[in-house]
Amino acid sequence: MTFAAVGAALPGLLNEHLVSILNGLAVGMLLFTMAVGLSLIFGLMDVLNLAHGAIFLLGGYVAFQVIVGEGQSWLAGLAVAVGFGAVAGLALGGILRPIRHRGHLDQALLTLGLAFVLSDLATIFWGSDFQTIPSPVFLQRSVEVLGQFYPAYRLAVMGVGFALAVVVYLVVERTQVGAVLRAAVEDRAMVSALGINVGRVMLAVLALGTALASFGGVIGAPILSLSPGVDAEVLILALIVIVIGGLGSIPGALVGAIVIGQVQSLGTALVPQVAPFALFGAMVIVLAVRPEGIFGSR
């Protein structure tokens, strides 16, 4: 196929599958809110937080309770859920502390156990039916995108996710706080020898990461619906995202999330037969070419 032919095919693809592409972007941004925290926490603490998916789901449920259950505003639900996520991160830090000198496996197992407990708690409180948070009223409409109508809420999710990526990137790369973080990822002991309390930095990153996961659960609820199993699903997708993007890299988490969002959405639309394998196919291809991930170092 020539370039011209590809060029001619593109608008067709875009027209036919615009909705799939946009859905993929929205899903990708939700995955980013999960992946960025997982990746930062792993980069800094060497801990793969397998409870991250449960916190995503619980965040959604907490906001559901506030908004649907108590009839409070969307903003209030979001704030309570984000606060819950941050507290969950601090608690996780406390739980991980006694085993911080153990290996990866012990820590991963602990977070996995925690994931099961949290997930069961969620089912006890909110049952196993699908629960959903209606999108905020001012976003309950459609907007015309390239001649097709698309829900404004999903566009907002994309915008917020992208803005989040930019903010997190700038904070990590351009500020003094970010410099502490980057230095600690490289050599924790040396950072502490400079008089910086690395334990506190780690707690802050844990809290930030889990707050973002919880935030993702809230903004994802109107799109995905909340039910048992969503936690494991988003966790696995987010893990694939950071493996593809490169552990510890924020641009990597963003690009990985966009790729996986498209594989999930556009892939299913284009080649439904292979969609279940496409996810792992994408991972195998990336890792075969770049074992450290697209933006990974070393």
Partner: protein, 237 residues
């Protein structure tokens, strides 16, 4: 005798499977540079790391300005006024030179700030936007020293600052430390380069297998070359 600024007594420390320090005594007085010599693997870095809190001593005491440091965390120890110029330099390779320096800065009245360090180490100013990994070995060592200066510490622990550097860079680093010594730096200087150690230090300690086996002033050491040969296996000083 006035109490030393740093006073290490009967220190024992090691790692999970091995005891390294087996009762180390060592003192550094205010304004004094004390060299610590010894062959590879005798435990010099273990001692420096124990003082800095990076290795947890199993017994003994480390008193700094009259207060016990043993059992405290590295960040607490740093905030009490110790700084480390570590073996292998341990520059943050992805941070810029300036970020490396700012991270270390603890301001003190009349102490160093970014400007004064740049003035002292102009090469760092030229390179301030470069990443740590883009520096030469000598420049990285300058940066490690710059970090320690910005910590405005009362005592600096240098762990083999001349290791792995080209002769010219060794001279530069030595003259930087010599300059600091003029300004009453208190330091423990681990060195395998005897020439550098004797040029910079007031007193010499020699360590073999986890113990200090010889101590003398630099003048005594110089007039007793047999000591050097016996303990270090080096040739003429």
């Amino acid at each position: 005798m006035s109490e030393a600024l740093l006073d290490v007594r009967d220190l024992r420390a090691g790692y999970r499977r091995s005891v390294v320090l087996q009762g180390v005594d060592l003192a550094v007085r205010e304004g004094e540079v004390v060299a610590l010599l010894g062959r590879n693997g005798v435990g010099k870095t273990t001692l420096v790391h124990s003082i800095m809190g990076l290795v947890r001593p199993s017994s003994g005491s480390i008193r700094f300005d009259g207060q016990e440091l043993s059992g405290r965390t590295p960040d607490q120890i740093a905030r009490r006024g110790l700084a480390l110029v570590p073996q292998g330099r341990r520059i943050f390779s992805r941070l810029s030179v300036e970020e490396n320096l700012k991270l270390a800065h603890r301001s003190r009245n009349g102490g160093h700030d970014l400007d004064s360090v740049y003035e002292l180490l102009p090469r760092l100013h030229e390179r301030r936007r470069h990443r740590g990994r883009q520096l030469s070995g000598g420049e990285q060592q300058m940066l490690a020293i710059g970090r320690a200066l910005l910590a405005n510490a009362r005592l600096v622990l240098f762990d083999e600052p001349s290791e792995g550097l080209a002769p010219k860079a060794v001279d530069q680093i030595a003259s930087v430390i010599a300059g600091l010594r003029e300004q009453k730096l208190s330091a423990l200087l681990v060195e395998q380069n005897l020439h550098v150690a004797l040029k910079l230090a007031d007193a010499v300690n020699v360590m073999t297998k986890g113990e200090i086996v010889y101590r003398a002033t630099v003048d005594e050491f110089r007039s007793d070359p047999k000591a050097a040969r016996a303990f270090l296996g080096v040739g003429q000083v």
